[in-house]
Point group: C2
C-alpha cells in the first residue's frame, strides 16, 4: 500500500481516477467482445457498460480502432523478461505469459477482431503495426541477448524467428480455433530452441 | 485442350457454365475486398460485380461467410507436393506457393477479414476450422513423409510444426502488415528445417 500511495503522489491526485476510468472502459470492451463479437461493439455500448461518458472516452481514444487496440494491449502488451542465462528458459517465459493471456475470456475473439479491423478500409494501419511491434519487442530482445550470450546462432534471422514465436500461439487460436496450452508452449520452445540453437 | 474436353464430357454439359459462374463470383469477392475491405462486402455488390443473380449465388453459398471462405480457398487452398526426397525442398514448395498467393491483390485483406469474420457471433466456426485444416493438410503430409523417410525426427510434434509453418507467412501479413517474400520463405525453411531435422 505504501508503494501505491507513493505512486499516486508521484503522478498527482487526478491520476488514480484516470486509471480507474481507463480500466473500466478497457474491461468493458473485452467483456462486450467476449459476449457479442467485434461487429456488435459500439462506443455507446462501451460507455454504457463502463459507466463513463462518451466525451470522456473520445478524449482518450479517438476511434473504435484505437479503443480495441488499447483493450488488446491491456491483455497482450509489452513484456519484460529478465536475463535467465538461457534462451529456452526466457522463450518459455514469453510464450507462457502469452498463452495465459490468450486463454482469458474474450481475448481470442478480440485478437481476431483487431486483425480483421486493421485490414478494413480507413483503418489506421500504423497504429496497429506499432502495437504488433510492441508485442514482439521482448522476443527480439531475448533472441539478441541469446546471440550476445552465445546460446543463439549469430546468423539467425531475428525478425523471422520473432515472427515464428509471435505467430504460433496466435495462429493456433485465430487460425485453427484451438486453445493454446502448455503442451503447445513446450513444443514451440523445443522447435524454436532447436531452430536458433548455436550448438545442436 | 483434349484434357479439357474430356473433363467437360466427364462432368456433363452443364458443368463449364457452373465453373464460369463460380469463378466470376469468387473473383468479384476478392476484387471488392481488395478495393473496400470486408465490412463493405455485400451479397448485392458481389452479384452486381459478377453479373450473377442473387438466387444463383445463394444456391451455392448460403451465407456471406461461406462465400468469403470459398473466395479464400480459391486463392489459398489445398496443395499437393510430390515426394522430392528431401523435407526442406518440399517445405520450400509449400511456402513458396503460399507466399505467391498471399502477394496477389486483395488476398491479405481477405485473409484478415476471414479471420475476423470467423470470430464473430453467429459465425460457422466449423466451416472455418475445416478450411484451415485443408490449407494445413499438405504440410502435415510433408512432415509425416519426412519422418517415414528419416530426414525428420520421429518425435516431432507434427501439429505444432504444421502450425509454425502455416502461421509464419500469415502472421507476417495480417499481424505485422508486412509482405511475405522469398527471404522470409528461405528463413522459415531454414528455421523449421533445423527445428525438425533428424540429424543436426
Amino acid at each position: 500500500m505504501a508503494g501505491e500511495e507513493a505512486r499516486q503522489a508521484r503522478k498527482g491526485p487526478g491520476r488514480p481516477r484516470e486509471e480507474r476510468v481507463t480500466r473500466a472502459v478497457l474491461d468493458a470492451v473485452v467483456e462486450l467482445v467476449a459476449e457479442s463479437g467485434m461487429s456488435a461493439l459500439t462506443m455507446d455500448a462501451v460507455a454504457g457498460r463502463a459507466g463513463v461518458s462518451k466525451p470522456a472516452m473520445y478524449r482518450r481514444w479517438a476511434t473504435k480502432q484505437d479503443l480495441v487496440i488499447a483493450a488488446a494491449e491491456s491483455r497482450i502488451g509489452a513484456l519484460v523478461v529478465p536475463d535467465m542465462g538461457d534462451f529456452r528458459a526466457e522463450l518459455r517465459v514469453v510464450l507462457t505469459a502469452r498463452m495465459e493471456a490468450y486463454r482469458l475470456p474474450g481475448v481470442g475473439r478480440l485478437m481476431a477482431g483487431v486483425i480483421g479491423a486493421a485490414s478494413e478500409a480507413g483503418a489506421e494501419r500504423g497504429a496497429y503495426r506499432d502495437y504488433t511491434a510492441r508485442v514482439m519487442g521482448e522476443t527480439r530482445t531475448v533472441l539478441e541477448r541469446g546471440i550476445a550470450r552465445g546460446d543463439v546462432r549469430a546468423d539467425v534471422d531475428v525478425p523471422a524467428a520473432a515472427t515464428l514465436v509471435a505467430a504460433s500461439l496466435v495462429f493456433r487460436m485465430v487460425g485453427e480455433h484451438g486453445t493454446p496450452d502448455e503442451a503447445l508452449v513446450e513444443s514451440v520452445v523445443d522447435l524454436v530452441g532447436r531452430a536458433v540453437a548455436a550448438r545442436p
